[in-house]
Amino acid sequence: MKAGLARALDTAAVIAWVIVATFLLLQWLPGDPAELYAGEGATGEEVALLRERLGLDQPLAVQLLRHAGRLLRGDLGVSLRSGRPVRDEIAARLPVTLRLAAAAAAVGAAVALGGGVAAGADPSGRLARVLDWVNLSILALPVYWLGMIMILVFTVRLGWPALGGAGRWGELFLPALALGAHTGAATARILAASLSDALGAAYLRTALGKGASGSRALLRHALPNALIPAVTYFFMEGGRLLGGAVLTETVFALNGIGRYLVTSIAFRDYPAVVGVTCFIAACVTLSNAAADLLCRCLDPRARRGKG
């Protein structure tokens, strides 16, 4: 209970810090939104007028406090660029990002579990070496490139649906594969390593000595222990997936949070950038908290100790 409270406070502190840092970094960036929106041909007077309309003529501290006050009331503010509430802008793009993250996580989990267990169970075998090679290749390929090649092969040549924009499930297959393969390959390597460690551990010998079958020893005794670092890593990645896979969204023309963030930065849309960063920070911290929780379920010591 107490631990939960501390955790919540931690989370809040991280998010608050992220907001302040984002806000200040944005201000530090050269480039004035009013100038960007007014365009190259606008007169100085028009720019000043626009600055006033956007509230950018106020001192930095006032702007920051105003923004923080709004955030506390759960109001993400209004996009400078479109004039629409940032909350609506995020909400419009969230389904795409959520679906992409879910699909990519599913692909990633399948790759990680399958590849990790197969390679980790027999670390010196031929299969392990092939899998290791495959995983490394996937990791070495930039998502951007992988996505392009996938589009060229599957969409241009074979006519599969992609480039959906709205992100219907069918259109998400390729982007999820490109994105999930990466997460999966990285996690599979971690899982394989910790699984082969676990196979040499004393407790496994005990389990086998007590007459447990090979697969039971592997799946019931070794795997849960080996999963802990993999799960932690996977969930950290998961937070990032939710925060928007910018490159994947760009290649596959998906209208998600990540792409919105990039556009907003380009246009110095302060409220939008702060709003999205805030959201991503929340996703990452929550995802980490979920990883902790899951590890506690997997690790009996953590369960008993803290109860």
Partner: protein, 547 residues
């Protein structure tokens, strides 16, 4: 002991492999089945299918309030939702639209417009003199002041309804480009009800008299317009106009290639060349009004010396840049104006003379031996980074020490505004009204914000004013001819090239009109239905066309 584990592992391996295969197969099945399943309701008989025209744009419109929008995508979409009193034809001539005729009274200040009868806004409000007056009043004194008011407010004194279909607009002084300002996309006629609501503080409701009306807008993804039945020009041939946002240039090209969209704009030169070679889609280029130039900072010697600046113009092979870096999608400039701009006259064609340039630059002495800062945005204009590098290389060839700095656009604008540490800055400009005044005044009139060079020539200022504040078109053209040669002579910039407007479309899309000010006019567009069974890969499962 280890062997027992290994035996189990062999069994397990089969299990895992089986699971993976099953999972992948399942995924494929689900994903493949799901996509067409969503389309089935629309798949009825051919006649009932609405004709959808899908367009891929690089950026999303910012706002659908023409008086308050400044960006290209908004102008393009608003062009289809709203009508203007008059329009510029593809050749730059003025043609009637909501005003059927107009005349200038002998006082030289008052324009009288006769309005089209029987026109209705999308929200049912009638279009009449009252609506025109309401629009002008918003532009002149609306609150909050709309961004585009500078197109009318300095020039218009009063607007009056003479009768329900006649309006008189009185100017403060004779202003030559006035009718071209009225033809600008942003001086469109908005429903008086939308204006009243906006003034009262509620969000803007887009309602015009144009051939299409707003149906749906998913921010960042797509914007759908449907045809406005009973438009005065006649009903459009397509039922739905869908704009999709695909910021990535490769993504846009691929969307066109796979048949996911009918039209993609703009197309990056690299893809354009490839698509043209493949020949499956139609790639077109139309002379545009966007000029790209390298402004010279006149405050930093030796750039204050006109002789030196002229030598810089001779040092750069703009022909090669246009041909090889822009793949022939640009024409070298021989004036500060693009040939497509009204009032253009060839001034000086600086030819590429590397040896003469080198000699002239060396003549500037020790001042010319300092390092020169060349700044350029990256990814703002087509191939801007490459062009900046080429210009730097030519100048180095001519004996200068040039250092390139590339910026992201937002940073670039801020840096140019704040810092004067640059010598050469790559910039672009497209005059939205298509008139020489809009092309020259913001860049070369002394003291204007877009005049980054700090160029100040009393003669140019005087000529620009004289040309703007007269209504005699022949006299205006003569004055602009003079201004162009003066500016070219003074060379406050290295005049590089004028960009073509380039786009790609499916062969079955017809009737697209492209204006030199980067408006793609789809009002008369038609989509030919492909012959049965001959559809393109993506074209078979759409609702009335490619998706």
């Amino acid at each position: 002991m280890k062997t027992r584990v290994l035996i189990a592992v062999v069994n397990l391996r089969r299990l895992v492999a089986g699971c993976v295969i099953a999972a992948v197969a399942g995924c494929c099945l689900v994903f493949r089945l799901q996509a067409p399943a969503q389309e089935t309701p629309a798949r009825s008989t051919r006649q009932e299918r609405p004709v959808v025209l899908t367009v891929a744009l690089a950026a999303e419109p910012v706002r659908l309030d023409p008086h308050d929008a400044r960006d290209g995508p908004s102008a393009l979409v608003n062009f289809h939702i709203y009508d203007r009193l008059l329009e510029t034809g593809p050749g730059g001539e003025l043609v009637p639209a909501l005003a059927t005729s107009w005349r200038l009274l002998p006082d030289g200040l008052t324009y009288v417009f006769t309005l089209r009868r029987g026109v209705v806004f999308h929200d049912g409000e009638p279009f009449d003199a009252g609506a025109v007056v309401a629009n002008f009043q918003r532009l002149l004194a609306g609150s909050p002041p709309p961004a585009r008011r500078e197109l009318v407010s300095p020039y218009v004194d009063s607007v009056e309804a003479l009768d329900p279909y006649t309006v008189a607009v009185r100017l403060t002084r004779p202003f030559g480009p006035f009718l071209r300002h009225l033809a600008h996309e942003s001086l469109a006629m908005v429903s008086p009800r939308s204006i009243r609501l906006a003034q009262a503080g509620s969000p803007f409701h887009p309602s015009g008299t144009g051939p299409f009306k707003l149906s749906d807008w998913t921010p960042g993804d797509r914007l759908t317009l449907v045809k406005h039945e009973g438009h005065w020009r006649g009903e459009p041939a397509v039922d739905v106009l869908e704009f999709r946002v695909i910021p990535d240039g490769s993504g846009r090209a691929l969307a066109l290639e796979t048949g996911a969209v009918h039209l993609a704009y703009p197309l990056d030169p690299v893809h354009l060349v490839r698509l043209r070679r493949q020949g499956r889609v139609v790639v077109e280029q139309v002379p545009g009004q966007r000029v790209v130039y390298a402004a010279l900072n006149l405050a930093r010697p030796p750039l204050d010396n006109a002789e030196f600046r002229r030598a810089l113009n001779m040092a750069v092979d703009r022909e090669a840049i246009a041909q090889h870096l822009l793949f022939g999608l640009a024409v070298p400039l021989d004036s500060p104006l693009a040939p497509a701009t009204w009032g253009y006259a060839p001034a000086i064609r600086y030819t590429y003379e590397p040896l003469a340039a080198k000699r002239l630059l060396a003549a500037a002495g020790s001042e010319a031996r300092r390092p020169f800062e060349l700044w350029s945005p990256s990814s703002r204009y087509l191939q801007d980074k490459e062009v900046a590098e080429a210009v730097a290389a030519y100048l180095e060839e001519a004996g200068l020490d040039v250092r390139i700095r590339l910026f992201e656009w937002g940073t670039y604008l801020g840096m140019l505004e704040r810092s004067s540490a640059w010598d050469i800055a790559v910039l672009g400009w497209v005059p939205a009204t298509g008139d020489a005044d809009m092309a020259l005044r913001p860049l070369y009139y002394s003291g204007t914000r877009g005049n980054h060079s700090g160029y100040a020539s009393p003669a140019v200022d005087r000529l620009l004013d004289a040309a703007a504040f007269t209504q005699d078109d022949e006299r205006r053209k003569a004055l602009y001819r003079e201004v162009q040669s003066l500016i070219a002579q003074d060379a406050p910039a290295i005049f590089l090239y004028a960009m073509d407007v380039t786009y790609g479309r499916q062969p079955e899309l017809e009737g697209v009109v492209v204006h030199s000010n980067e408006i793609i006019d789809l009002r008369a567009a038609r989509v030919r239905l492909p012959a049965a069974g001959a559809g393109r890969p993506g074209a078979q499962d759409g609702t009335g066309g490619p998706r």
